[in-house]
Amino acid sequence: MDRHVIGPPVVGARAVEIDGRISVYSPSTQDLVSLNETASDVWRLCDGEHPLEQIVELLASSYGGTAESIVEQVAGTVEDLVSLGLLPGPRED
């Protein structure tokens, strides 16, 4: 499993939360990206403190499932957030 720490968000990214869903303003594109509940959960953990492995384990525990069942979805969400310019690329822990 990847040991790279994910996040924190890029400088200038502004997240607002409404009824459990997060929307993030991207300073580079000046677009607002709305996240669903699951992606919002991923976003909250992309704080520069957790590697992907730990994010997956925390979410699996929260959802009552297994890490194997969600790892691809979580990794895909992180990739999307990076490609949207909201998170920096992975860095060494």
């Binding site: 409404i18 303003y25 709305s34």
Partner: protein, 279 residues
């Protein structure tokens, strides 16, 4: 030599000085913009427009000629188009494409791009007791309150026919709120409901009102904003503050009167159905 007449109107944060030599034009401007008229003593810096008649042709001028028209109605429409463009561009608040109606101080925004039918649905709602805020723009001040923009409504010939007002000739025409049997909303106003409009051919299953997640208001209204590009982050934060006090809906409809009836049954303060959310 005809005597010139000058009117001053306030549209959002801009003041316009309108000059004409023609009495008919003066009366029509006063009638249509009566809710925006301001006394000269209240005016600081004003943008100057004039409407003149020569050889049967009306000429609308700002700092330079803006266009010509062959009748009063077309000339006042041309003038209003320019006033509107300046007003929304220069407004200090966040302005978004949305008709806006109110009941008991609570505003329902009918959000959609141009051409979807905001003004027609706004007019249909006025006939059912809603109060007029704007047919063009939902404007949020920096404190989150709704700023009324009570310009005359712009209605196509088809819309005027739907609403039963004198069709006249030509396509688009300006219509006053009184022409539609409505009245202007009293302030203060707070945003209560945001309804994203989707027009379709009537299929027997419309109008159809579906709740959306509150967060939809952020992306939905920002995409419809006239001026968020000037201060995008400020717009996001303002909408986020306001959104938590709103309900958000999608309305698919074909007939404006049926849609107005549904909105009135669901949201008008005088109705027994779902109460308005408080601000």
């Amino acid at each position: 030599m005809p005597r010139s007449s000058v009117l001053h109107i306030r549209a959002l944060d801009s003041v316009f000085r309108l000059k004409t030599h023609d009495e008919r034009m003066q009366e029509e401007l006063q009638r249509l913009w009566r809710h925006c008229l301001v006394a000269p003593c209240e005016v600081g810096e004003a943008l100057r427009f004039s409407v003149g008649l020569a050889d049967g042709v009306w000429t609308v001028r700002g700092q330079q000629p803006l266009g010509a028209a062959h009748d009063v109605a077309s000339a006042v429409l041309m003038l209003a188009t320019h006033i509107n463009a300046v007003a929304v561009r220069q407004c200090l608040g966040l302005a978004m494409h949305a008709g806006s109606i109110a009941s008991g101080g609570a505003v329902l925004a009918l959000a959609a791009d141009s051409g979807v039918g905001k003004s027609t649905l706004t007019g249909a709602c006025l006939a059912r007791g809603w109060e007029y805020v704007s047919d063009e723009a939902l404007v949020l001040g920096r404190d989150g309150v709704v700023v009324p923009y009570v310009k005359p409504l712009t209605l196509s010939a088809a819309s005027r026919a739907v609403l039963g007002v004198s069709p006249g000739d030509g396509d688009e025409r300006l219509v006053s709120v009184e022409d539609l049997g409505g009245r202007v909303a009293s302030t203060p106003l707070h945003l209560s409901e945001v309804v994203f409009l989707s027009r379709q051919q009537s299929d027997g299953n419309d109008p159809h009102l579906v709740p959306l997640h509150t967060s939809e208001v952020l992306t939905g209204l920002l995409a419809l904003s006239f001026n968020a590009y000037q201060r995008p982050l400020e717009g996001v934060e303002l909408l986020a503050d306001v959104a938590v006090r709103c309900r958000v809906w999608s309305l698919r409809y074909g007939d404006a009167h049926s849609a107005a009836r549904l909105l009135t049954e669901r949201f008008h303060a005088g109705q027994d159905a779902a109460p308005l959310s408080s601000g």
